[in-house]
């Protein structure tokens, strides 16, 4: 029996993690993500899992990666400054192909910024924040229900591609309460096992190596150094490095269609909004309030890898309007792929774009 609740977004995220089988949470208190840690602290021990409040966010993500290598589904949750602190080990997770989930309930930055106010200012950081080339997956919920659903999905994608996967929420979605239906059970995809005769970092056609958690008897050496398919450091051979980094990027980028998750509204429209996360709700309101107008809407639930083919769903588009709670971070990505004008509609300060603001922005293109 599924159950219906009136629940806060952050709590729904924790419930999603538990439903997905998450059994390790390492975290550090930080507004506005703390309710996720608090819920995990209360619920995990009773679910046979481990909650630990680490000494800082560097330690949180480190502990999560350590736990993930034992085969546990592991997660951390943070915001702004904590996310910045995690960057080094997020690169380590990408390099070592460690499946793990990182939730970022985004708040206003830079620096300590606005601890209790919403933003979407970390959308490039979750893709490019650690040094070197790699690729990641990022999902953006726009409701309490999606805080649950996309957390489950993040675990499955992390395991499927052995890549750190981000749930890029924001303070509005994290802190609001809405009705949510929690299903009895959710679909779970675990990593493909490391087959006999295969090397620990030897990948097949999908470029994702099989996974053998610690304790399996495979004696796997895991290192953040450039390594060969045995996992052994090989830091000076240019070809070894290029082969590894190209594969780390390609395993995610070549699966863009598999990972893509988006909604298309009014594909024949000339004026098209492209959104993710909370601002999509304002666009939905504008479309609802103006049924006679054809207003297009591409709502991305998966932002990275960026599904540029989704823009082709609007063949008659004349302009792409992009309300984001940042200075236009994903607008740049859209701009790379289309010939039409791309108009950023930045909103800073913590409030969502209002319908009136979007109507004003639309004026010039009606």
């Amino acid at each position: 029996m599924s159950r219906t609740e009136f629940m806060q977004g952050n709590v729904a995220c924790a419930e999603g993690a538990l439903a997905a089988g998450c059994r390790f949470f390492g975290g550090y208190p930080i507004t506005p993500s703390t309710e996720i840690a608090e819920t995990m602290a209360r619920r995990l021990p009773k679910a046979g899992g481990v909650f630990i409040s680490m000494e800082d966010e560097l330690g949180s993500i480190a502990a999560v990666i350590g736990a993930a290598w034992t085969g546990a589904r592991a997660m951390t949750a943070t915001s702004g400054p904590g996310f910045s602190l995690m960057m080094e080990n997020i690169g380590y997770a990408a390099m070592t192909e460690t499946p793990c989930v990182i939730v970022n309930v985004q708040r206003g930055g830079p620096s300590t910024g606005q601890p209790t106010r919403a933003a979407q200012g970390d959308m490039l950081q979750c893709r490019f924040g650690s040094h070197g080339d790699y690729s990641t997956i990022a999902l953006a919920p726009n409701s309490v229900q999606e805080m649950f659903d996309l957390t489950v999905k993040a675990f499955n994608l992390a395991d499927r591609f052995r890549v750190p996967t981000f749930l890029m929420a924001d303070e509005i979605i994290g802190h609001m309460r809405e009705r949510i239906t929690i299903p009895d059970r959710v679909e779970i995809t675990r990593p493909a096992p490391l087959l006999e005769g295969k090397l620990p970092f030897e990948a097949g056609d999908d470029r994702v190596p099989g996974f053998a958690p610690f304790g399996s008897g495979r004696a796997i050496h895991v290192t953040g150094l450039t390594h060969d398919e045995r996992g052994y450091p090989d830091t000076t051979d240019p070809e070894a490095h290029e082969r590894l980094v190209r594969r780390l990027v390609a395993k995610v980028e070549s699966a863009r269609r598999e990972i893509a998750d988006y909604e298309v509204v009014n594909p024949d429209a000339g004026m098209v909004f492209v959104t993710y996360g909370a601002p999509s709700r304002t666009v939905q309101q504008v479309i609802h309030d103006h049924p006679d107008e054809e207003i297009g809407h591409l709502r991305l639930r998966a932002v990275w890898p960026f599904p540029e083919f989704a823009l082709d769903e609007f063949p008659d588009a004349t302009v792409f309007l992009m309300p984001e709670m940042n200075m236009g971070q994903i607008s740049r990505e859209v701009e790379r792929h289309v010939g039409q004008p791309v108009v950023p509609i930045p909103k800073l300060g913590g409030d969502l774009h209002t319908p009136a603001e979007l109507l004003r922005a639309m004026e010039a293109y009606r």
């Binding site: 009136f6 209790t116 609001m176 309460r177 809405e178 009705r179 304002t282 309101q285 969502l352």
Partner: protein
Amino acid sequence: MRHEIRFSGYGGQGIILSSVILGRAAALYDNKYAVQTQVYGPEARGGASMGQVVIDDEPILFPEVTDPDIYVIMSRQGFEKYGIRAREDAFMLIDADLVRSRPACRYCEIPATSEAKNTLGREIVANIVMIGALVATTGVVSRDAIERAVLDSVPKGTEGLNQRAMKRGFELGERACNQ
């Protein structure tokens, strides 16, 4: 029909809980849609706290409250910070003992805190008295729904007290509206 309800008072009065209870009543027991939000600040005790709810018969798209049509105000600071700019056709419930100012819009005075303290014996349930009055005066959710939401939101052992507080709120609301 979309309603935007704003609660404000001082930290410790249960203002946030009131907004959660109202949202819960609408979303779980009245088959409506609700979004509850709140201001996050250091107002655990004292200061002006604020919680708000959008209630609608259809799914709520834009989730934020921009211009409330219903206010529940339980402190002077709360009035000045979150109530004073209420639009003219809004409706406000005011805890008459705690708020001296009166708004330009239609309002009702509910002596929730003194009723809670003197009649019910526990000041802590003043917010529940206000919720009862809110439902009686606006019908924004049904009495059955609010009762169920109150009962599953309050600490075990206090159900009877809270039920009495809510019923007292119903009565005060009915009386205030008949003025």
